[in-house]
Assembly symmetry: C2
Homo-oligomer: 309 residues x 2
């Protein structure tokens, strides 16, 4: 069975949307990636850090999904990373209300011995030097390294970010980040420039407008599923990345053709994530629902135009 190594925050979130608000609930990129990836067959571990205030039940929830949590360090007397945000009415933008880095501030990731030969590595959004440290600990070149990052690191750690970008196979960014990183408004041009920086595959996430996969001159597009109601977008991008890498790890195939399937699965998983607050929907999601929604993605996108005489 392929090994999938996930690095990312395991955290507390407090979320306000037009539909309601939560107290501190389970959150973090590593959590969302792990929950989403767990719907596919592979051996998985999350490398992360939390404080002593982090409830055992949250770790048990991940363990129940066959995720190895032994590399989630619990810092004695430390407090868990906490983020709080408020979404605007259209849910497409949000204000950060609180960011308490806490134990994440001094996070030194330690890759477990049995995952230093991971087949697929998913570098969730963290300081680029943390992401590099993970790559440096690997003893075997992975089949695929996927990087997620955000505009924050482009603003304050661009040189380090470029170092890690140069070392990965796939990068996932949103449309605005792709533009910021390259100075190109056209996403086609931006994706070409990012490929010059290292990654052979570029995934540009457009939220409710879907995601584009670029590789050399090829482009594939996965729409977001049109939903009656988006309840809470938190974690959608990470859930997308989890579906993407989880499917790749299971299928052991890193061709462009198979990556098309992977981003369809990424969109599929993300379409569930946004239906309820936080991780709630992902926690009770069943594999049958994922396969059923795959049929919806087919109906949404597949057509059959007869060739004309």
């Amino acid at each position: 069975m392929n090994k999938l190594l996930i690095v990312g925050s395991v955290a507390f979130d407090a979320i306000e949307t037009p539909f309601g608000k939560t107290d501190k609930i389970l959150g973090g990129a590593g959590t969302y990636i792990g929950l989403s990836a767990s719907f596919f067959k592979h051996q998985t571990a999350i490398v992360s850090v939390v404080g002593e205030d982090f409830p055992q039940e949250y770790l048990d929830l991940l363990t129940a999904r066959n995720i190895d949590v032994s590399a989630i360090e619990i810092v004695k007397g430390g407090k868990t990373f906490f983020w709080s945000g408020r979404y605007h009415n259209d849910l497409n933008s949000r204000d950060t209300l609180v960011t308490e880095l806490n134990t994440l501030a001094d996070f030194e990731p330690k890759v477990p011995e049995n995952f230093k030969d991971a087949d697929v590595v998913m570098l969730g959004n963290l300081h680029p030097l943390t992401q590099i440290s993970v790559l440096d600990q690997l003893t075997k070149a992975p089949k695929l390294v996927v990087l997620d990052t955000m505009n924050f690191w482009m603003d304050c750690a661009l040189s380090e970010l470029k170092q890690v970008i140069a070392r990965v196979d796939v990068i996932t960014v949103n449309d605005e980040e792709a533009r910021q990183l390259t100075g190109e408004y056209s996403l086609v041009k931006a994706a070409a420039k990012i490929q010059e920086m290292g990654p052979k595959f570029v995934v540009i996430k457009k939220g409710e407008h879907g995601a584009l996969l670029f590789h050399e001159k090829q482009i594939f597009f996965a729409p977001a599923l049109p939903l009656e109601e988006v309840f809470d977008p938190t974690g959608a991008g990470d859930t997308f990345a989890g579906g993407f890498t989880g499917y790749i790890a299971q299928s052991e195939n890193i061709s462009f053709e198979n990556m098309k399937n992977a981003i369809i699965y990424g969109s599929n998983m993300a379409s569930f994530c946004v239906e309820e607050f936080g991780t709630k929907r992902m926690e009770r999601l069943q594999k049958e629902e994922v396969l059923e929604r795959l049929q919806q993605f087919r109906a949404l996108t597949q057509f059959d135009i007869a060739l004309e005489k």
Copy 2:
């Protein structure tokens, strides 16, 4: 051969984009719809009005595309409708600089005798009462009536607009217009409400983010082709409508499955329109290029996920 009746403005445009500006050039919804639809096999006429200042060469250009221009009334001493606009840097929004209705102000459409039994009717964006007048002149129920409209009529002629909406099979609006018309932010909910107003099929255009087709509980999505450069978005929506109705008229099939193909062709045609100023690209477009681009749409959207054990 099926008959396609097009009603829409035939006009002068002056356009400014970040890439340059034009003097008065050929424009108008009817023009773009006609040029785009002319790539498919059917008998076509445009009902419209122009002034004496309208160059014969522009009419000849339409005639050369096998479009019957005899129902484009030329008002003696009148001036042709003129619109001028300036696009913002992202090309997603624009300011109207000049609108001179001229002969369009008193336009009374006259459907030619031999098109009163048209199979497909495309009501381009005009005053709803003008659109209703066209429907009232038909002697046989068309197989399909398609309506395009805009927010302007929602602001100033909502009651008349609702009358025409109740009488058509397909409506095309953009995402903001769908929201304004229904008060629903979710496009899924908005499309359901619009179906209650009459049209069995709702097309919601999202510009560079593609187009959605709704029918009862079914949804289909056609992406816009990701382009290195969008030069001038003028007429893209009309070109989309022309590809949509032109394909339907040719294929003589108004099933949901065939409408999927029609919106793919709509997106296909629109992807050419935006590549140059005004109608320039559509004027020199070849059928072979359209078929070649259809392959790009296939590559962009078609996937093949094996069913899991």
